[in-house]
Assembly symmetry: C2
Homo-oligomer: 370 residues x 2
């Protein structure tokens, strides 16, 4: 069901307007709290939406797909039919702003190329919708700040879709990384995210659309890991970046970035980002012990070990669907008027650090992070 | 038996002077090539000598312990008795130069604190002995160069004791890392060496004796791995270093250094060195595949895997005693008048890079390596 906290209380709205909304996600008998749902519009129907997000709704308790925004109407219709989305809730980009009139849509989930995040997040907020936005939040810190401002001005919630922070393997890793019993004093995090990227024509290799190369897309997972495992913010960064000469994939963006982070406590992060080869692991070293994970950023099957040696598949942790957990978290924030765990400020922080990493690699100097 | 290539051919010497030398390592019937041995004097009887080198001689085919140089006569006598070394072949540092008169000693193996390597290597060469020297070669590039010059002037051989380059797990790793079938184009090496150091009063934590902190002692293994796995020399380095404030161990030297190396081909090395926590692994990423090793620098039990996943204990490789292999290599070079695989120039290269790493971490800038 649809909710709007702009003018009436959530509960009042839920009990007085539910019948009138006509949403496909509407449940007439949803007065009881456990049956409330939140309607999501996905903006951008690429691989992530089709391969992960739309299927994930089946595992959601609160989030429901109610609308699609796409530049490809036939594809949108096909996906809508597949997931029971009302065909009248399909929008193209020209008519996106009319989503304002659609009470079935509570949340707009931005699944567009990075360079389009800011525009659509701001338009969604101005249309009165809560905004869930894929990582990286945007291409630049100023775009991120504009998104935060727009959502604040519209009194809408803003969350960045850092799915790993919502799933139990990562949560267990964070718990152990900060545990004096498991790790002692945390001294070092190494974290690596990379894959060999394919089609040279894809948007991820276009500077305007992607904002950068591997660091924006996959290296950000290594940065996130260094931050959430230490629980600290870096104060200084050094970096080296590289792109294979004459590789058609890397005409506009970097292939590989190594970046080293110095944290306030003295803990150090050594991170790797690549579009040239696959890497997917972190390790936390402390004075007393270590934890390690590999893979750590996959959609499923992530593994976590405590100690130096790897015993089998690691700790037994029920994993769940990352996207379902993430979308339900935001749905719950919307329903209960709570602050999301990974708000716009979290996304801005990463984009600021990423900017500093690029500055460090371009200048060949250590860059302080404010 | 003792050999001296200064004035006569090795073979002539072997067949004409063997009986006259009176060495404990002498074998009167050693005219046949397979029974030749080379006499080693160990300079410095610390943990490495007592725990590794002296026991390793039992597994050597060519190298024999024939003399000890120590500032602790009772300890030297005890060890001499244990390993069948003639008590008259025990020297203290004041009388070290008289080793010149001892034909039983072919090789002087320098196992002293780093800051003493240059002095004793040069004195050994001037005493007419071949020099095997522990890593790091010395505290500074100029000391290294002086050692190279002294050995060249004395026409003595000089080898740095990079034991891993003489043992089969490392050799297999190098083969795979450079294999187009196994790795494709090598893109990245990550390598980490560290342990939590104990007694704050030990020489490794004294700047004058050690030349630096973890990087000199254990990080050098990560640097070596990045170099021997890529088969390339780094052209640029960035680094961050750290020492826990008020930790009595790190008053004079660094605790942890992260350093990133850019190689000529574009391959990148991400290395970690620490006295604060244990780490002992490398991984090589290529366009086609990867190899990984953990531990990679231990005295035994090193493991190597091909591919992303770890199957059991990795590739089945008969390991051997690293020190015995290393000492026998040098003995063979002496016997056959061959150049060692890891000559002084190899040690100098590492010390030059280490100087650049320290410069990069101190200045916060990327440093070019000549």
């Amino acid at each position: 069901m649809s909710v709007d906290f702009g003018t009436v209380s959530r509960r009042t709205f839920l009990t007085t307007t539910a019948v009138a909304l006509g949403s496909t996600a509407l449940r007439v008998n949803s007065a009881s709290p456990e049956e409330r749902t939140v309607g999501f519009a996905l903006v951008g129907i690429g691989n992530l939406s089709m391969g992960q997000l739309l299927p994930a709704f089946a595992e959601c308790k609160l989030a429901r797909p109610v609308a699609l925004v796409s530049g490809h109407p036939p594809k949108a219709k096909e996906q809508a039919a597949k997931y029971g989305i009302d065909l009248k809730n399909i929008y193209d980009y020209d008519h996106f702003d009319s989503i304002k009139e659609n009470p079935a849509v509570d949340v707009v989930y931005i699944v567009l190329p990075n360079g389009m995040h800011a525009e659509y997040a701001i338009r969604a907020a101005q249309a009165g919708k809560h905004v869930l936005c894929e990582k990286p939040m945007a291409n630049t810190p100023s775009e991120c700040q504009a998104m935060i401002d727009a959502c604040r001005d519209a009194q809408r919630k803003l969350m960045i879709a850092y799915r790993l922070q919502y799933e139990p393997v990562t949560q267990k890793a964070i718990e152990l990384a900060r545990s004096p019993e498991a790790v002692g004093v945390l001294k070092q995090v190494t974290a690596e995210g990379g894959f060999s990227i394919g089609d040279p024509l894809q948007w991820r290799l276009n500077r305007k659309l992607a904002g950068g190369g591997s660091l924006m897309d996959i290296g950000i997972y290594a940065l996130q890991a260094a931050r959430y495992l230490t629980g600290e913010e870096p104060v200084e960064v050094t970096a080296i970046s590289y792109a294979t000469p004459n590789d058609p994939r890397f005409k506009e963006v970097e292939e590989t970035v190594e970046f080293d982070l110095r944290f306030e406590s003295g803990a150090v992060g050594s991170c790797l980002s690549s579009y040239g080869f696959g890497c997917n692991r972190f390790r936390v070293y402390g004075t007393r012990g270590q934890i390690q994970s590999e893979p750590f950023l996959s959609y499923q099957g992530n593994r976590l070990w405590q100690g130096e040696d790897r015993q089998g598949d690691g700790l037994a942790i029920k994993q769940g669907n990352h996207f379902a957990l993430e979308m339900d978290h935001f749905a719950q924030c919307v329903l209960n008027d709570e602050a999301p765990k990974t708000p716009g400020e979290e996304g801005l922080r990463d984009v600021k650090i990423i900017s500093a990493i690029y500055e460090a690699s371009e200048s060949g100097t250590a860059v302080k992070i404010a």
